[in-house]
């Protein structure tokens, strides 16, 4: 299909500001009378706050006040409280905030505050708390239990509780040693098919233990925020991946009517899953500002970003994979214990889903446990669950394929999901998959067959490793709103409530609206990033969700515009709307192109006609955020607004395949990645450079996960070893390939109007595909 905009590069409106320094992030905003707030973190890994004595701090001139857990609604475990009191569960956990006229003064005040703690036993290894008699990270237990409960006020976690699960010493020992823990209790299970029977049919069976590590997100922009109150409204400069989808949640955290919140967030310095929804600390920023009646900038340091900025959940597990004679995966049995940190969820089920979709086993059983530990809170991070499983699986699948005597790539292709692919315990369908074709394309780009034949030994000390890995993440939803306004001068304002994470998808998805409207991109203005700019209710920007979901809502809003254009034209020139067409930013009678009007003229007409045309009336199924925005624009142009009710079924898989060639120095364990070739199977490519960004970035996160980054906790005292950025070791220029080679499979997804799915997540963990090749110590 030939598109005007889809599949073509464009310059997103925010790029220039980024290269000139004009782009502003939350910390760059100042407000008259603004004061600075800083956090005091817990020095103990577990316990409770007995007493806070801030008198000496408050006596310092210029110190304005403190803010503690008592100023917030209680958030009992496993909710992750903004400020802890009864349940201190990790070192660095914020206990209170103090505000002062200057940042330095706030720091000085912190050192004068005396907090008395009562310590409790703590634990940093999930298997230690799982062992009978082992310490529990919370007084009430050690594991996540899902129930139907409501979220505690001011928090976003819902339906969870803390329970207690213990294994016998023998069961834990068996698990540690890489064997199945017989009769052990799990918290989450699913299965399909007759697992035992399918294993019986398998000729190659491997059984392996695995461990992956937690790693902090360390978004380069820490979650500093600034809030102030004016005329009963809260203006909040924050750093979130999403924009309007978090509006109601943030209003609830601030305990105000959503209409009284103006959230401003034009740019976000990275989130990687840690800023999808409003995080607890935002309540402190907003409420402290109200308490002091001053604008408050709550500054988060790099170290604090480590503590409260979320991290990937590590896992320890056991897996058994059976291959049939023909190389098909007959059965898989997997057991995973997640390190859920403080109040995290664990992502074991997602890990298992990764296996189920990438290899389509005939039967499969998953059992999982999310164990809390006295470490930092865990949350979603680039392909949570799936990517660490991709890293784990790559060498195991290789081993199985080699044992079965099948080519590693051929084996993956054989088992790859096709259009009828199934996923997870319920074996639901997927929107589409051209994964075998993607594998072929990537193998060809990488020259797999040729590289396979290359000698392993490069020199006396260097060996070559080639590997392949696959990534997956569900990447799409529906039900969000699109909003477009055409002004009487013909300018087309494309409103989006998608956040600006740096993927440029906030603008990319609007290209679908421009495409549908058949208008020039130059006449379009992207409206985003500021709560006062009348934004629609858009999807959360996370989980690669945006592309699929928001091209749909852009499209339905554009369809609404077109329908209204035609109706306006029909009212002017007669006939019915169906008699009209659009083109060249005009609406005209299909049979007589001269009978028509420009978009601008139609907009002027819409203002005159009122009603639904100028937003005086609007559909009753749109979200209240969108309603407010439409109301604010009433009578200012032609308003197109609609909720995405297009049909959708099955999971929306964002998938990728990547090949990596490394040169490993066997004397030092160091390796160079000399080739990285990846193909995304994510439907139609909307924005080629954006796709490359997403694919390359994900690849580099994968290198980091496989080779450099990891949480390190000292079990003796619960101290984290790698708080700072240099200790956390995000990959640098010199740790990644000089050049990266990526492409999209570009096969349209039938459930997206432009055929697009997201790909921000899937394809990390690919470096790990080289582990079995060369016995390198990079895991």
């Amino acid at each position: 299909m030939t598109y005007m905009h889809i599949g073509k590069d464009f310059t997103p409106p925010d790029v220039e500001g980024k290269v000139t320094g004009a782009a502003r992030y939350a910390e760059d905003f100042k407000k008259d009378g603004m004061v600075f707030a800083r956090l005091l973190g817990s020095p103990i890994p577990a316990g409770r706050v007995v007493n806070i004595d801030a008198s000496a701090a408050l006596a310092i001139p210029g110190v304005l006040g403190i803010f503690t857990a008592d100023d917030l609604p209680p958030a009992p475990p496993p909710a992750n409280p903004a400020l802890a009191k009864e349940w201190v569960t990790y070192i660095g956990q914020p206990i209170l905030a103090v505000a002062a006229e200057s940042d330095a003064l706030a720091e000085e005040a912190l050192s004068k505050i005396v907090v008395e703690y009562q310590r409790r036993p703590f634990v940093v290894d999930p298997l230690d708390t799982l062992t009978e008699g082992g310490p529990d990270p919370y007084p009430s237990g050690n594991t996540l239990i899902r129930n139907a409960g409501e979220a505690a006020a001011g928090t976003t976690a819902s339906g969870t509780d803390v329970g207690r699960i213990k294994w016998s010493i023998d069961q834990v020992a068996a698990f540690r040693a890489g064997r199945e823990p017989v009769d052990a209790q799990f918290g989450d299970e699913w299965s399909y098919g007759d697992v035992a029977a399918r294993f019986a049919e398998c000729s190659t069976i491997i059984e392996e233990p695995f461990v992956t590590i937690g790693q902090p997100h360390h978004s380069l922009e820490s979650r500093t925020g600034m809030a102030y109150w004016e005329n009963g409204k809260c203006y909040f400069h924050g750093s979130l991946q999403s924009h309007t989808v978090g509006h109601d949640a943030l209003s609830a955290m601030l305990e105000i009517d959503p209409a009284n919140l103006v959230f401003i967030n034009e740019n976000t310095g990275g989130g990687f899953g840690s800023k999808i929804f409003p995080y607890p600390m935002m309540a402190v920023t907003g409420k402290f500002a109200r308490k002091l009646n001053r604008p408050v900038q709550l500054r988060i340091t790099r170290a604090e970003e480590f503590y409260i900025g979320s991290a990937r959940s590590g896992m320890q597990g056991w897996i058994k994979i059976g291959l049939k004679d023909d190389g098909r995966v007959g059965a898989v049995d997997v057991a995973i214990v997640n390190d859920a940190g403080s109040g995290g969820g664990g992502s074991a089920s997602s890990s298992a889903e990764h296996i189920s979709i990438m290899f389509q086993p005939e039967a499969m059983r998953f059992r999982g446990l999310a164990m809390y530990t006295n470490t930092t809170p865990r949350g979603a991070q680039r392909g949570p669950g799936q990517n660490e499983m991709a890293a784990v699986l790559a060498p195991m699948i290789d081993k199985a394929a080699n044992l079965a005597g099948v080519d590693r790539v051929a084996m993956r292709r054989l088992n790859a999901p096709r259009m009828d692919g199934k996923i997870g315990g319920r074996q639901g369908g997927i929107s589409s998959s051209y994964m075998p074709e993607a594998i072929d394309k990537a193998a060809q780009m990488f020259n797999w067959d040729q590289k396979k034949a290359l000698p392993r030994q490069i020199s006396a000390t260097k060996v070559r490793g080639i590997g392949v890995g696959q990534g997956f993440h569900t990447a799409g939803a529906n039900g969000y709103d699109g909003l477009i306004r055409i002004a009487s001068d013909g300018t087309i304002y494309l409103h989006t409530g998608v956040g600006n994470l740096g993927t440029y998808s906030y603008a990319g998805v609007l290209r679908a609206a421009a495409e549908t409207l058949q208008c020039s991109w130059d006449n379009c203005v992207v409206v985003h990033g500021h709560g006062d700019l009348n934004l629609p209710h858009s999807t959360y920007q996370g989980g690669s969700n945006t592309m699929f979901t928001e091209t749909r809502s852009s499209h339905v809003a554009a369809l609404d515009v077109i329908q209204k254009l035609k109706e306006i034209a029909a009212s002017e020139f007669g006939g019915s709307a169906d008699d009209y067409s659009i083109g060249g930013e005009r609406v005209f009678l299909t049979s007589n192109e001269s009978k028509g009007m420009s978009y601008g003229e139609a907009a002027q007409k819409a203002i005159e006609m009122g009603g639904k045309y100028s937003g005086m009336e609007y559909p009753d199924d749109i979200h209240r955020t969108t309603v407010r925005s439409v109301q604010a624009m009433q009578g200012t142009g032609l308003i197109g607004v609609a909720k995405d009710t297009l049909p959708r079924s099955g999971a929306v898989p964002g998938m990728a395949i990547a090949f990596v060639e490394i040169e490993l120095d066997k004397e030092t364990g160091k390796f160079d990645i000399v080739d990285y070739t990846a193909v995304a199977e994510c439907g139609t490519v909307v924005h080629p450079k954006g796709l490359r960004q997403a694919m390359n970035g994900g690849g580099i996160w994968g290198f980091g996960m496989a080779a450099y980054e990891r949480h390190v906790y000292d079990p003796q005292n619960g101290l984290p070893a790698n708080v700072g950025l240099y200790q956390s070791k995000p990959p640098t220029y010199l740790d990644v390939p000089v050049q990266m080679n990526v492409a999209g499979n570009d096969m349209p997804d039938p459930q997206s109007p432009v055929g697009a799915r997201g790909i921000g997540e899937a394809r990390s963990g690919l470096c790990s595909c080289c582990t079995d090749e060369c016995d390198c110590r990079c895991a």
Partner: protein
């Protein structure tokens, strides 16, 4: 931006920090009677982006602090404040340095250039900036100012670097989004080696 506004804001800043200076001088005279003479003066004439600006600078103040909070040049970002990420990279006499790990007093005799000072007099973007836009180099953009400054320093010293040389020269700038390939493409384009 309205230049008058900027100046007024600047003057306000000077007055505010002057007050802070007065109070800290008091503290020093009370506690440091036996200190050697010759400690630095607080009022500096800083050459930033080609303009000499008078600014009151505490002795221990970092350049990043002065730029961001006294001169309002917020294009220079603080990612870690510890010299571990490169987001605060600026030029001092054409050499790229971490502004978070430099005292402002250390550069009092040097020409400081930040990302805001790269445009030509007629407003044209610096070739590095233009190339970074063309290559869609930034992702989230938080490290971008630093990446731009390292690229500018590189091209001043080496107008036609190889990709490997560029990679080495840029290596003190972390990009958490992993846009390294795109920045390198930008450097190669800015040096006229990619079209």
């Amino acid at each position: 931006m309205n230049p008058k506004l900027t100046r007024r804001r600047f003057i306000k800043g000077v007055i505010a920090s002057g007050a802070a200076a007065a109070s800290s001088t008091l503290w020093y005279s009370a506690s440091g009677a036996d200190r050697p003479a010759g400690a630095v003066e607080r009022l500096l004439s800083l050459n930033v982006n080609g303009q000499v600006r008078r600014v009151d600078v505490a002795p221990q103040e970092t350049l990043a602090h002065t730029l961001r909070y006294k001169l309002g040049l917020t294009g220079t970002k603080l990612g870690c404040n510890r010299g571990e990420c490169g987001a605060c990279t600026v030029l001092a006499d054409d050499v790229n340095i971490y502004a978070c790990s430099t005292l402002t007093h250390e550069v009092k005799d040097r020409a400081v250039v930040t990302v805001e000072g790269l445009r030509a007099a007629d407003g044209t973007l610096h070739p590095v900036q233009a190339a970074f836009i063309e290559e869609l180099s930034p992702a989230c953009g938080f490290c971008t100012a630093g990446q731009v400054m390292s690229a500018v320093a590189l091209l001043k010293a080496n107008p036609k670097p190889t990709r490997e040389e560029a990679r080495q020269a840029m290596s003190g700038n972390v990009c958490r989004c992993g846009a390294y390939d795109h920045y390198l493409n930008g450097v190669m384009r800015a040096s006229g080696q990619l079209s």
